[in-house]
Symmetry: C2
Subunit: 207 residues, 2 copies
DNA sequence: GAAATAGTGTCTGTTAGACACTATCAG
DNA sequence: CTGATAGTGTCTAACAGACACTATTTC
């Protein structure tokens, strides 16, 4: 009996101005019927990142998404079936692709706000906490990946606020983002309801 | 044939005012005779961290040392024997314990300056690069762990300089360290050669 | 013109870098 | 008194937080 290796993925998205995590309802034991983050066993011929991408695609239909490694979790006893070491990853889903997430593999899959997660299978609660801490620490670098290619500064600020869980000052926020130098103004605007249209921006390669 | 799991450890130390990494000479194939970082297979009943501590103790005689997880490395082909995923860790050895490092397990073990490493077995070169980047990013939190419990500010500054590979301004360095609030002055001094004795300090619990 | 969101500048306190001299010890 | 390292303060530029009003659109 040897150690088995899995990958798990914390998939973040923004919906209704709140930060959400994709959970799947487990269709088999252990933790049958429990919510968990998507994941599965690593195959012999694929890298860890490829395995994470494959599982993400299988369970959510999302393809070609950058994933980043978070950490390995391997305490004995974390999986009642035996010794399983998982390499956890996280990924960010742009809000224009959230609806594509009809699960193909899992019994059920839906997004939950991070502020209102159910209790999770295995040690997945701990994994999500780690991923959230990482996302918060790197919000400036990662925030825009939760948005479509073109977005307004108001949308970006709401994403940051959803990630950090606190309100930000609009002028300080814009100054900070502007001096990163990674934002490029477009010629077009987004008109949303009954108010002044907002300029659209896109991200350049870093510096 | 399934995936096997190892842990590897990048053990840092300071010697001759230079940052060093412990390498062991491999006593068996693959990479027989090559230098590598210490590591080995994870046992069924131990956590990843316990495995890293055990390997560190077996190969270096160093016990009870804090290790931190770095990342998992698992590309297919990184080990010619088959599919092996390693969970890399790093640890910091205080300079008063460097001489304890007579290897008990490996054919040979010695420290190499990070600026002058030989080419390493497997993907260990990449692992050491990651560990070094992590250490540099967290030098303020971690630097003192490369020193004995009592140390002078000059010693601490030389440790930071060895880690960062660049000279630091003495006054700015002392101000920055002082305002962390984690340093406590002792009543004693260290007299080193023919110069003014330097006050000794120790670290308090954070804040 | 009311409602809604976009967009914009200043002041202030803190932080980080550049920079040079005096103090204390052994010999 | 020489050599060696310890120890100390100021000025300046960049950055971060607090804070309020005008602009543009729809209805």
């Amino acid at each position: 009996m040897s150690i088995r290796v899995t990958v798990d993925i914390v998939l973040f998205a923004i919906a209704k101005d709140r930060l959400q995590v994709l959970l799947v309802e487990r269709g088999k034991a252990p933790f049958l019927g429990c919510w968990a983050i998507p994941g599965g066993f690593v195959r012999e011929s694929e890298s860890l990142e490829e395995a994470a991408l494959r599982e993400l695609a299988e369970e959510t239909g999302v393809r070609d998404h950058a994933v980043e490694q978070l950490a390995a979790f391997g305490d004995p006893g974390r999986d009642p079936r035996g010794r399983v070491v998982t390499v956890a990853h996280y990924a960010l889903l742009p809000s224009d692709r959230v609806t594509l997430c009809a699960g193909t593999d899992a019994a059920a899959a839906r997004f939950f706000p991070v502020s209102d997660l159910p209790s999770l299978a295995f040690d997945h609660g701990r994994i999500v906490s780690h991923a959230l801490a990482r996302l918060r620490a790197r919000v400036v670098d990662l925030g825009f990946r939760l948005l479509p290619a073109h977005f307004t500064l108001g949308e970006l600020q709401r994403v940051h606020e959803a990630i950090l869980g606190s309100a930000l000052d609009k002028r300080n926020f814009r100054r900070r983002i502007a001096q990163l130098g990674t934002l490029r103004a477009l010629r077009s605007f987004r008109t949303e309801g009954a108010s002044r249209p907002a300029r659209l921006y896109t991200w350049q390669r870093s510096r």
